[in-house]
């Protein structure tokens, strides 16, 4: 079975919400839509206080290059346009909407029929992705129209769809495969057409045999879609690791996947692409998992973007268990603890993971014993223990020379460290310092 060559770990999978079918979360009475839900500059609000908006109406326009459109996830009246604190407590520009009814834009096709035929040309597809505000839903929220506009002089040879879902606990991609296999395959075909590549590979970890069978069966009906079962190893779904696993190619240090002829997208993105291109539906909904070992029930939801964490928790489990230690957005390996539960969810959120105090607590840090486990675990072939020392002593130049910027922050080093050293945190700090140094030099 295919896998990436270097490093990797195997954390406890904990896919306990696997069997929970996707439910629809009701729309709350007030919505806050952040303007920067994507990598890059915030979108510019194009509505004002008192404006009436419909579901799917453009409310934030992408004016910078690295930016994506933001659409209203609800219908109602704009209450105000002012900053709102995000999940980490930092104020971000936002549009507040008082929800009135559920009136959708007429252009959006809400019928349940599945449309297979796509007559658009490559360029038109990319333009439509931009119009619909599609971003990568694997976590980085990279605007899709930039990724799929291949720069001159470069050629895409492979389209790889990441359905590995290697993060523990997360099951939203799994549920999408089980329930919307056909739509996903149509989305993949559209992306394949946009790139003009002969084949698209869907990489799925082998701990999801049902999804692999389902996708294989569906892929037979489509031209050029190959389902690739992958070994269960974290971070199988990381961009560079997935390229290595599927194609055997290695993205050189400081280069992008397109430099080795690859484009990687998440499965969730493929589904969003289907809805955007075939149904004219902008990216206004997230599919996210509500899970946790101590929760009374496990759920997968389709949630309007902008629903707050508190709304999600209230609807799904009533209230947080008294022993809750952390609420995490994302998986256990790369997810971030949410500080402000009143914050709205944004594009790319994939889970609300409630961790118990004992489970969430970090063990006390002890001294490095030079065992080298972090080096063996690092999927990028870096030396985390050394970065830790270099960053602590402010030897930023050296850290840069040893390619600290190649770190993908997957957390394998921290996970494997017997001394519980927060290696990933230290490397993140080091990367920030290196970037600051490089910016100062310019």
């Amino acid at each position: 079975m295919k896998t990436f060559r270097m490093g990797g770990v195997h954390p406890e999978e904990n896919k306990i919400s696997n069997d929970a079918a996707i439910e629809v979360m009701p729309v709350p009475s007030q919505m806050v839509v952040l303007m920067n839900q994507h990598l890059g500059a915030p979108a510019t609000p194009v509505v004002q206080k008192g404006d009436k908006v419909k579901v799917g109406q453009l409310i934030g326009e992408a004016q910078a290059f690295m930016c994506a459109n933001v659409h209203s996830p609800v219908s109602g009246t704009v209450a105000k346009v002012e900053p709102c604190k995000d999940a980490f407590g930092l104020a971000k520009p936002a549009v507040y909407i008082n929800v009135e009814g559920d009136e959708w834009m007429e252009t959006i096709d809400r019928t349940p029929d599945i449309k297979r035929e796509c007559t658009l040309e490559s360029k038109q597809i990319v333009d439509k992705l931009k119009e619909m505000g599609i971003v990568g839903l694997g976590g980085a929220t990279f605007p899709a129209h930039i990724k799929y506009a291949i720069p001159d002089g470069k050629k895409a040879e492979y389209l790889i769809i990441n359905a590995a879902e290697c993060e523990p606990y997360l099951t939203s991609d799994y549920r999408v495969m089980m329930e919307h296999a056909e739509e996903v395959c149509i989305g993949v075909s559209i992306l394949r057409k946009a790139l003009g590549v002969p084949n698209a590979y869907i990489g799925i970890e082998s701990n999801k045999p049902l999804a692999i069978a389902k996708m294989q069966e569906m892929a037979r009906q489509f031209e050029g879609i190959i389902v690739e079962p992958l070994k269960v190893k974290y971070p199988q779904g990381a961009e560079k690791q997935l390229i290595n696993a599927v194609t055997g190619r290695k993205v050189p240090s400081g280069k992008l996947p397109i430099d080795v002829g690859c484009v990687v997208s998440n499965l969730g993105t493929a589904f969003a692409v289907y809805e955007a291109i075939q149904k004219n539906k902008p990216l206004i909904e997230n599919i996210l998992t509500v899970t946790g070992k101590k929760l009374p029930s496990q759920h997968n939801y389709i949630v309007r973007i902008g629903t707050t964490y508190n709304d999600i928790i209230k609807h799904s489990i009533g209230e947080l268990p008294a022993t809750t230690g952390k609420v995490i957005s994302g998986g256990t390996m790369m997810g971030k603890a949410v500080v402000n539960l009143d914050a709205p969810t944004v594009k790319g959120n994939s889970s609300v993971l409630v961790m118990d105090e004992g489970e969430a607590r970090r063990n006390p840090e002890t001294a490095c014993i030079r065992c080298g486990k972090c080096m063996h675990a690092c999927p990028m072939g870096l030396e985390p223990y050394m970065f830790s020392a270099l960053v602590k002593n402010n030897r930023i130049e050296e850290a840069k020379e040893h390619n600290i910027l190649d770190c993908i922050e997957c957390g394998c080093c921290f996970f494997s460290c017997p001394a519980n050293k927060p290696l990933t945190d230290e490397i993140r700090l080091g990367k920030n310092k290196v970037r600051a140094m490089m910016a100062a030099k310019k």
């Binding site: 980490f88 407590g89 930092l90 104020a91 500080v339 402000n340 993140r428 700090l429 920030n432």
Partner: protein
Amino acid sequence: MTQQILIAVLVLGAIGAFFAVVLYFVAQKFKVVEDPLIDEVAEVLPGANCGGCGKAGCRAFAEACVAQGNLEGLRCAPGGDVVMQKVASLLGCAAEAGEPQVAVVRCHPANCGENRRSNYDGLKSCAFANTVYTGENGCPFGCLGCGDCVAACQFDAIHMDAETGTPVVDEEKCTACGACAKACPRRVIELRNKGNKGRRVFVRCINKEKGAVAMKTCKNACIGCGKCAKVCPFEAITVADNVAYIDYTKCKACRKCVTECPVHAITDVNFPAPAKKPEAPKPAEEAPAANN
């Protein structure tokens, strides 16, 4: 046997003499002429290499002094006037008397402990925590409490208060080198004039959020109401970005603003306790706030 010893001695002697001559000329050719004054100046400096002067260390500061020939724009904060007088007498110029300064922490400690909304257990580094979230009490401008300033201080003059999680400056030890102010990613720490008898008034908040928002996170947050600016007889207070700042060069420490402030964001330090309600003297912090 004697002959062999003789040959050896002669040969080694000849080689030695040859290299001695070569080395003599090389030394002459590459001789570095250094002003002996640099050594003398370096001698009177504190030698802590704190970098507070902006130079790489005390030696570099001495070199800069000698190269410049006067002390314009050069000052050793830890050494203070005493050291600067000595340096001036060595250089034969006048030393400007500088107002002694001290580091002040511009974040109200009273609220950090009780107002904690989250527990941070990540890397103990303010520089890192600043990139992750707002801080345990939810203020995006306030002290993060991970102690980067404590680690930066070479004079053991700043310590974390375990209860409030904010740093406290030891006025006696603080040399105003500015290392803590540079280490703080949020610029909470500022160097201010110590003031007459150590008495200072400053705004202990740098929160630029609008009043209502700031009040939600901290009840002592400056709300930018401007009452202090109106009451100040010396026009020392400016309000910008919803936060007041007291210019320490203009402030005469009349303390009118302290009583006027509705949220008690303005603090006075080292004043005798008022007769009515005794207040524990605050050992060493301070903090004005505003534009950085």
